[in-house]
Subunit: 325 residues, 2 copies
């Protein structure tokens, strides 16, 4: 089944991305938890992309894409749109590669993410998440300023870069029976599933979406991309309303199942990771652990890789979430 | 100068403790931060004892002490008193070694610490931090039940165990110019300074206390143990009113300076570690980073080891601290 998706993205693209990222991205640690293993009956390996540069896996894809631009393109700069983590990643990667960056961010993006993006030297333009068409706005800025668009997920180089998280996890810890990752636009899981399917034949790949943001779950069921109302969820990195074209092309072949998790269970998973593992993760990144703790995903005796996708949440924002939850 | 302190504690005791702890304690990771290095001009190595079993360095000392008891002593069980982290450590270590444990905890100890101690199977007896004499209470319980006292710091085996944190840090990362660690009763820094002085001749050892809990700072200045009123500070692991007899005997020779940090600066350091490094640390553990960020400790170009001593704080408690700060 996976052959068709290789037209878009093959494991060799992920391997090439790993070479580009070597010495630039953090080779993030993999942590385990006795309690998590006891509660699931499995051996859970947590790939800490919250400790990645820029605080999320997004740096991998952004850097892999921008590093492949020509000197002329780099001189003109890059444009993107993002609810936050891809914004920081593009700003950081562009800065490292000597390119200027313009980032469109929703007006309700977490202040920590906006501040960090500006801190990396990018110009930030805000838009309304619920009314503006960020893709059209972004393309207009790119045309006007003759800049290159680095989309947040629907781009082969971006997907290939994200896949290096799973590649490292498997290289450093051995074969997996299951891989669980959050799904927003689908770039992370597309890249990771591509690497994992090549390295661990027969692996089960599970995506996790918030219940209010189940566009990929519905799309996989329908066999075509389904658009939903813009989701309102605390998982601010997963407020996509429709899967990417390219990501869906890969994920329909490589993703076995989508687990849905409530905002409440995301907070409980964040609490678990905070209190038991002393790790800060943002709501979207807690999805796989929420699924594991709620018993929605179970594989006793199996080796399960989890992508802890990011940790970009302010300490005050966490306090609000916990009080509200 | 260090020879005299070797009568109490020598580097060989720390080495023997490391052998006992091998395969039992976590060899905790050492993390770095580009931002922290930029802000201090130094190369800062953070030894993540918040990722130790039981959530703090205390497991090292408790296990090292209990592992040296006779079968008969183990059968009778152990008693201790602690504001929290040593309580959890003794409960966990006793459980692993097949001994029962009774722990006296202050009635205002964080709920997360009390729950965790009970969760490890210990019996918890509460006392009033500001009126009761916990040492007398603990010794009375020990006499009545014929149990062995495992004091929280003033014990050579406890100090030796704590010193393995610095031993590992130096073994894994090479020699240091400076070591910074929080000071409560003084067991952590006594053990760490003993190991560090042996491995890195000429190293500067800096302790950190909350401004309201400066008993060791005053004692070092006076050249004798000085008692202060029971400190009221958010650094709940540093509310000692007088240094230990044995720990002070070591620390007066091996600790070069005590940096004092305010509760406000502890919260800012917790915020930094949370938002920039995605790490959960408790207030006391943030002291060295607070000192570094406030500019009270500076060594441009030097290699500085920091013991991030623990991460036992509830997510709700953190929210309250941040709102109040």
């Amino acid at each position: 089944m996976s052959t068709f998706s290789h037209l878009v993205l093959g494991p060799w693209h992920v391997r090439a991305a790993a070479d580009r990222l070597s010495g630039v991205a953090n080779r993030t640690p993999v942590l385990t938890s006795r309690t998590l293993d006891e509660r699931t009956g499995a051996s859970i390996l947590l790939k800490c992309e919250n400790l990645q540069r820029g605080g999320a896996f997004k740096f991998r894809g952004a850097y892999n894409a921008i590093a492949q631009l020509t000197p002329d393109q780099l001189a003109r700069g890059v444009v993107t749109w993002s609810s936050g983590n891809h914004a920081q990643a593009v700003a950081l990667a562009a800065g490292l590669l000597g390119a200027s960056a313009v980032v469109l961010m929703p007006s309700d993006a977490p202040a920590a993410k906006v501040d960090a993006t500006k801190g990396y030297g990018a110009e930030v333009i805000t838009y309304d998440r619920y009314t503006d068409d960020r893709v059209r706005l972004g393309r207009a800025v790119a045309a006007e300023r003759r800049m290159v668009v680095i989309p947040p997920y629907d781009h082969p180089a971006v997907m290939a870069g994200q896949g290096t998280a799973a590649l490292e996890l498997i290289e450093d810890n051995g074969p997996l029976d299951m891989l669980i990752a959050p799904v927003g636009g689908g770039g992370l899981i597309a890249g990771c599933a591509t690497a994992a399917a090549a390295l661990c034949p027969g692996i089960t790949v599970i995506g996790v979406e918030p219940t209010e943001g189940d566009d990929t779950a519905r799309s996989l069921q329908a066999g075509r991309r389904v658009r939903i109302p813009i989701p309102r969820t605390i998982a601010d990195a997963q407020t996509t309303d429709i899967p990417g074209q390219l990501t869906f092309c890969v994920n329909r072949h490589l993703v076995d199942h989508i687990a849905l998790v409530t905002d409440h269970s995301l907070i409980e998973a964040m609490r678990f990771l905070f209190e038991r593992m002393k790790l800060v993760v943002e709501p979207s990144a807690a999805g796989p652990v929420a699924a594991l703790l709620s018993g929605r995903v179970q594989l006793p005796g199996k080796r399960v890789g989890v992508i802890l996708s990011g940790g970009n949440i302010g300490i005050d924002q966490l306090g609000c979430l916990v009080n509200a939850g």
